[in-house]
Assembly symmetry: C2
Homo-oligomer: 413 residues x 2
Amino acid sequence: MKALWLCVLPCLVPFLASLSQAEEGLEFPSFDGKERVININEKNYKKALKRYDMLCLLYHEPLGFNKELQKQYQMAQLVLELAAQVLEDKDIGFGMVDSQEDAKVAKKLGLEEEASVYIFKNERVIEFDGELSADTLVEFLLDLLEDPVELISNALELRAFDRMEEETRLIGFFKGEDSEYFRAFQEAAEHFQPYIKFFGTFDKGVAKELTLKMNEVDFYEPFMDEPMTIPGKPHLEEDIVEFVKIHRRPTLRKLRAEDMFETWEDDMEGIHIVAFAEEEDPDGFEFLEILKEVARDNTHNPDLSIVWIDPDNFPLLTTYWEKTFRVDLFKPQIGVVNVTDADSVWLHMPDDEDLPSAEELEDWIEDVLSGKVNTEDDDDDIVVPADDDDDDDDDITDFDDDNDDEDEDDGNL
Amino acid sequence: MKALWLCVLPCLVPFLASLSQAEEGLEFPSFDGKERVININEKNYKKALKRYDMLCLLYHEPLGFNKELQKQYQMAQLVLELAAQVLEDKDIGFGMVDSQEDAKVAKKLGLEEEASVYIFKNERVIEFDGELSADTLVEFLLDLLEDPVELISNALELRAFDRMEEETRLIGFFKGEDSEYFRAFQEAAEHFQPYIKFFGTFDKGVAKELTLKMNEVDFYEPFMDEPMTIPGKPHLEEDIVEFVKIHRRPTLRKLRAEDMFETWEDDMEGIHIVAFAEEEDPDGFEFLEILKEVARDNTHNPDLSIVWIDPDNFPLLTTYWEKTFRVDLFKPQIGVVNVTDADSVWLHMPDDEDLPSAEELEDWIEDVLSGKVNTEDDDDDIVVPADDDDDDDDDITDFDDDNDDEDEDDGNL
């Protein structure tokens, strides 16, 4: 996945204002001016790799005389500087690699995608292709410092595992820390840390609850009720890695700051089906439950992959999306987005008290997959909403409105 | 709550680097250089109030010749500029008020706490005393644009309501939009928006599920199973406001970016009981469940208020807290923090597989409330851990270790 260098993707660099309070205990760090980020080159890269437990490198295009680009990279460098300062005691090195000046080093290190950050840890390389803010980067690096496999040892901890339905996650049952199969599982976990979560248990009761046999590993796709058991236990590291690689793209996935660009690049023939829903909002939650039902019913369709975006997680992008996609994000939305030009078409929902049923959503998705609904062909299927306050929605298709208005009833209660 | 102006609290200002991608649809905004933030003074403040639906003012101390302070305020102003740009279509004005130069205006507007942001909306003033980052401020303002009362109209939406256990929230059952009691409820909601969530239902089924009678309002304290019914229905706006004011400080509350400084200022005689736990981590989740149990058992104790911090929500503060409090935040922690000097004392937990029981935690909390465990008296109750890799924890008190080591059993499964 190579990225071109335009000057479009603006990433967040936290700067710091030291406003004041009388109380102590909540002091945000501000950059102390001490430069910790290394300019990586052929002479120093081996030493840097040896020197730190983890080395975190921003791979960038040559800055040349482009003032705008230089300014942007100063900002990116400041993100790294602040992260380096904050994580000073964690033995993490930070550096920048110029794709032209340091082309040889980049090749040796396997850096490919400009504007990505690569983290070197125990002879592994982890690509960070997320929001380049100090917040997101520091959280990501702290996650990488945790054990690759979390242990589940009682019923309460199992509840924590059950609640993580947004996450792609694996869990295996092993004899103990010294089991060779547990070690293979740990090695496999390191390939995907921290994007995919690996859990292990040595507890028979937990294993029984999960219907796991000894050395068995289950793979949970996000939002699915039932896991898949990786066939052919006991597993070698490669078996698990291979299985995860094949199954990692889920039917429904949540956009996350730490790999948002990677997710966006992983489109389906140039498009994404995108759903906006605030989980904290009752309408958003309801819509999301309908969406999960559709995803569960269609999880075996390899052509279907829906990206769910919770606007609450991206406040600075919310109005940008409203403008770009011409939708009102105070209510749930689902549409098709062409990732090359951000052209889009959205399912018409009369209002947030009248959401489509799972069947209606499924019909619409079928129309998307068959090409009947598409971003290039806005003149078909257009409905001009009569009583809608959103006057921008000329790209909206209607859903089949047969059994509406009765959803508000309390029949389910 | 007045705050002094030191130069300690550094708040996050997002700057923007425009790195690039080939795909479109995820472009973070970068400051376009157009200045939108107004310098508020006696001549223009009335006009500004009239001109916008919402006016968002940063109240600040005089900058004088203090270069450091000037720099910090440039950063704060940039947060406002970016927020103003992002929210340009939402009819929100942004301004700065100097506490010395504009003392008269500040008095007229009721601005009191320097470094706070005040939002004027429909003749109400809302104080924002949270993390001054564009992310947090924009999310806060977007929340303020939503309806003050969210409607719950079916079983799925009710599930969304049930899941919000972290939030202080109210729900009332009314005849309909035109009910005078619903309107009073809406007016009351505006006093607390967006900090306290107000929900309403017109649906008999939903009301039945919540055991709500017509015009009845229930108040839910965070993490409590049972709500309190506001006595004396039907209610006037003032009744509800008064009740919320009296009951708003919960036994257990989660630290949130949008009002973190306000929460920190709301200490109990100079101290906070602080619990660190990652909800996404099985150990953290388990500890939190124990903590909730303790909170539920002690919810009638007015002297008890515990602040729960999820380190995942504050990545830039994690290592600062580890240094300041000398604790390892990769595992759950609970301690007492003196808010004037950040001196602290922490409950000793041998390791994260051996968490205290609810009873042990309750005993320790009793010792804190009685003063037996306190930050000034570190020489009492000290246990030097034998097998702990954390060598900084000289401020640690032990918990009663009677029934340890057996917690990992699968008895509960």
